[in-house]
């Protein structure tokens, strides 16, 4: 995703696929995440993505609560998922 993305206009969680792949060996964009705040279940790719190449904040597509925060720094990578009750990684075809 782009470093200059306007922080007021989110992209889709799918745009954070590359960044998430730096920590996760499987594709997270098609994984379902359950929002702690409202219980909505949605694919990571469907959530609202604020941020850029160095970090992303994913907000629930329904209630806008933060479900995942990830920041990459030269020193390392920071992941916070307090807003995610669980993550379901489905089997994929093909």
């Amino acid at each position: 995703m782009s470093e200059h993305a306007d922080t007021n206009a989110p992209l889709d969680g799918n745009s954070a696929a590359g960044l998430l792949h730096e920590l996760f060996a499987v594709d997270l964009t098609s994984a379902n995440v359950t929002c702690v705040g409202c219980g909505t279940v949605a694919e990571i790719g469907r959530e609202r993505a604020y941020g850029g190449a160095m970090g992303v904040v994913l907000r629930c597509v329904h209630c806008e609560a933060v479900v995942l925060r990830m920041v990459r720094t030269p020193a390392g990578c920071w992941l916070e998922m307090l807003g995610a009750r669980n993550l379901f990684v489905p089997a994929v075809e093909g």
Binding site: A5, N14, V92
Partner: protein
């Protein structure tokens, strides 16, 4: 990979070196970069890559670009629209020549993906360069020779701004269940029979599939167009879970 695999095979994502083998001028502002990427693992239609450019001083800039080519194609192709004042796109859509190299990683983003195995009907809505990942789906559909009913509504500024215009005409001429409606928002050539306004509710309702057919829907392009089309479809009774969106960023006035 067999369908019985528990989850997607874990894969480390690494930066690969792409060598440009051909540059295709699509429109005055858009170019396709055909590339040779050693160790490319293959992709599914709709996925994207991250491109990383490194300056002589070590400064790096990274952007996402959708894959335009079908998985069946011999080469990986990206299609980039030049955004004035942009950091990365003026280079990719302007200065790159055959033989030039840059880094990319992918394929990524398994969410915004359609393969013939997912069946249809397939409903695509694009604005400007938002056609790119949807073109990968249409190219894949043609390569697989599967007559899944498919419809595309494609919004461009002018006739000359329609990306892949000739190829889209050829795909429709196959008469294999694909219908394409173009709309031109800025100006139209004499005798133009397509749409002459931004994508709206009436256009989506008449050119799309009824919600009862539960089309797999993919909407891609400038943020504003994507949000308008997605909310309009939901008002028309389409299930949110069947609508997938890919926002490319600010409108920039496209579509």
């Amino acid at each position: 990979m067999p369908a019985t695999e528990a989850v997607a095979a874990p894969r480390r994502l690494e930066w690969l070196t792409a060598t440009v083998t051909d540059v295709i001028v699509e429109t005055p502002r858009v170019k396709s970069l055909v590339q040779d990427v050693p160790r490319w693992p293959g992709h599914r239609p709709g996925q994207h890559v991250d491109v990383r450019l490194t300056g002589e001083d070590g400064y790096q800039a990274q952007r996402s670009y959708s894959i335009a080519s079908a998985p069946e194609a011999a080469h990986l192709t990206l299609t980039v629209e030049r955004i004035e004042e942009g950091e990365v796109s003026p280079y990719l859509a302007g200065e790159v020549r055959p033989g030039d190299q840059f880094e990319l990683r992918g394929p990524i983003g398994g969410y915004f993906v359609w393969t013939v195995a997912a069946q249809g009907p397939l409903f695509l809505i694009a604005g400007g360069s938002g056609i790119v990942p949807l073109m990968a789906m249409l190219r894949h559909r043609a390569a697989a020779s599967v007559a899944v009913p498919a419809r595309l509504i494609y919004s461009s500024r002018t006739f000359g701004d329609i990306i892949y215009r000739d190829e889209l005409d050829r795909l429709m001429a196959r008469r294999d269940g694909l219908e394409i409606v173009h709309t031109l928002t800025r100006s139209q050539p004499a005798g133009w029979s397509g749409g002459m306004r931004r994508i709206d509710r009436e256009m989506v309702a008449s050119a799309g599939f009824p919600s009862s057919q539960r089309p797999r829907t993919f909407i891609c392009g400038p943020t504003q167009l994507v949000e308008y089309a997605a909310s309009t479809l939901q008002e028309l009774g389409h299930e949110a879970s069947l609508i997938k969106t890919e926002r490319f960023g600010p409108t920039g006035g496209v579509g």
